[in-house]
């Protein structure tokens, strides 16, 4: 079984994330980045499925030069191979365009099972898996908090707002997993050493038969017109409950601000 994990390289959430002033796109080149933490859950799921049966796990990423780090992390965790789609023309692509690139690459890889994270930690749209499923004409079971694969049947549990559902589909299929799906493993020393020898291919838009006018900033279907940094919150009042007066002061605040 050919398992492909779509994993995104994102700016580090704990560092300074910013926009490029020239075109209002997310600055991906000038900042520290890493494999999106939510996509680590996808890698973990793929490895677990492989270990429970058989298969080969490929990490697929669309992104600039540094995005190779996302693949490296996946390989260190235990994936078998990597594919990096990197092309000048991709910069500024929106979700619709990204889903086109991923769909073309997945077609070329002839994936049986495609595993996504629930959302990227930068854009956090959570729409790319459904878009890719739509483009490939494959069923999608999304936001799995637990996943089992038996033969060609994929079954997930999905904890929604009003119910906990069991959802089923048949391979080939698109799957996305939540951060409830099982803690991602850390790369072992052996894994880190082994990763160096694993094959990583780099593909261009031409390799995927995508013309440059189908993707990138110029063809994006959405445009950011303005970016404003949120003004810092003004410093609040902080009291200490040492003498047990905290509750009374809290009630006073609630009352003055008409919350009671």
């Amino acid at each position: 079984m050919k398992i492909v994990v779509c994993a995104k390289f994102v700016p580090d959430a704990t560092a300074d994330r910013r926009f490029r002033s020239e075109d209002n796109t997310v600055d991906r080149a000038g900042v520290d980045g890493l494999l999106s933490e939510l996509d680590e859950y996808a890698v973990e799921t793929a490895l677990t499925v492989k270990e429970a049966g058989e298969g080969e796990v490929t990490i697929l990423t669309v992104g600039p030069e540094q995005a190779a780090d996302a693949i490296k992390k996946g390989l260190q965790m235990g994936a078998d191979a990597g594919v990096h789609v990197n092309d000048e023309g991709i910069h500024g692509s929106d979700a619709v365009a990204t889903s086109l690139i991923l769909a073309k690459a997945l077609g070329k890889l002839e994936a049986d099972l495609v595993v996504f994270g629930m959302a990227s930690t930068d854009g956090s749209m959570g729409v790319v898996p459904a878009m890719v499923s739509e483009r490939l004409g494959l069923p999608a079971v999304t936001l799995g908090s637990s996943v089992t694969v038996e033969g060609t049947t994929v079954r997930i549990r999905r904890d929604g707002d009003t119910a906990s559902d069991t959802v089923e589909g048949t391979l080939p299929l698109v799957l996305s997993v939540s951060d409830q799906s099982g803690e991602p493993r850390y790369p072992s020393f052996k894994g880190i050493m082994a990763a160096k020898k694993k094959p990583v291919e780099t593909w261009s838009l031409a390799d995927l038969e995508i013309s440059p006018d189908q993707v990138g900033a110029a063809s994006a279907f959405t445009e950011v017109t303005e970016v404003t940094a949120r003004p810092p919150r003004s410093a609040g009042t902080i009291v200490t409950d040492e003498d047990g007066s905290g509750a009374a002061q809290l009630v006073e605040f609630l009352s003055t601000n008409k919350f009671l």
Partner: protein, 318 residues
Amino acid sequence: MSNVLVLVDHTGGKVRKTTAELLTIARRLGEPVAVYIGEGVQDALPALGQYGATKVIALTDPELSQYLVAPKAEALQQVAAKIEPSAILISSNAEGKEIAARLAVKLDSGLITDAVDVQAGDSGPVTTQSVFAGNYSVQAKVTHGTPIITVKPNAATPEAAETSPEVEEFDVTISDAAKTARITESKPREATGRPELTEAAIIVSGGRGTGGDFAPIEAFADSLGAAVGASRAAVDSGWYPHAYQVGQTGKTVSPQLYIAAGISGAIQHRAGMQTSKTIIAINKDEEAPIFELVDFGVVGDLHKVLPATTTEVNNRKS
């Protein structure tokens, strides 16, 4: 005037508040046409008319609810082909976002998710989104196709504008390809009687600092008529269900008042609550980063502060 499609968010005919918000926004952009999927459209009619739906398109094919989102996206595509809307508005929840995603591909259109405001602009709707843990506010517009926008709860104050819409039954054709992923079992969650997290005016959230005991959080929430939330640490420890998690991988909330008790204020938690109007924290560590956000903070033990506050609030009410 142009038609603006609004996908009705409801549970068995009971229209959710977000739909009233969407209809209110739709009136800024054109004439709201509500699309209702499932049974119970007659029950929903008064609420849809109250907020200005000029027409209600009802899709009652039971297959629409049996499968996941793919058939719903197909149905909306067919409605859109007939109505030719100038924009499509959908609630920003997990299902809504997936329907919107599929629709964007089908209609070859731009998609904006998680809008916290939508206004009419010279060349179509202009949206506001809150990004990077609420640190930036971004204005955007769709430049290609039919603008598809998913809108977060509380993005608008519902304004009534009484109409008496007609119901139009609409027959959809669902492809076999859309029927490939199905719900085989569904266990409904028990109702708590508290307001819904994403719609609540006040939220009281508990974190690891509760030590696993959410009773003081729930009691305080009830004294204020508030919803209860939780940090991921509390959810991961099994103290509270995931549906109540606030943050990057839980719910993004923007209530009038957010109270964090025993929560340190990690970036991923802040991502879900930073845009709340007023923020209060109770934490025994005066260095906790949550205090950087607060309008009012109490450095102290939540197990002492919360019960005392609850008693006092209840006393004042009676």
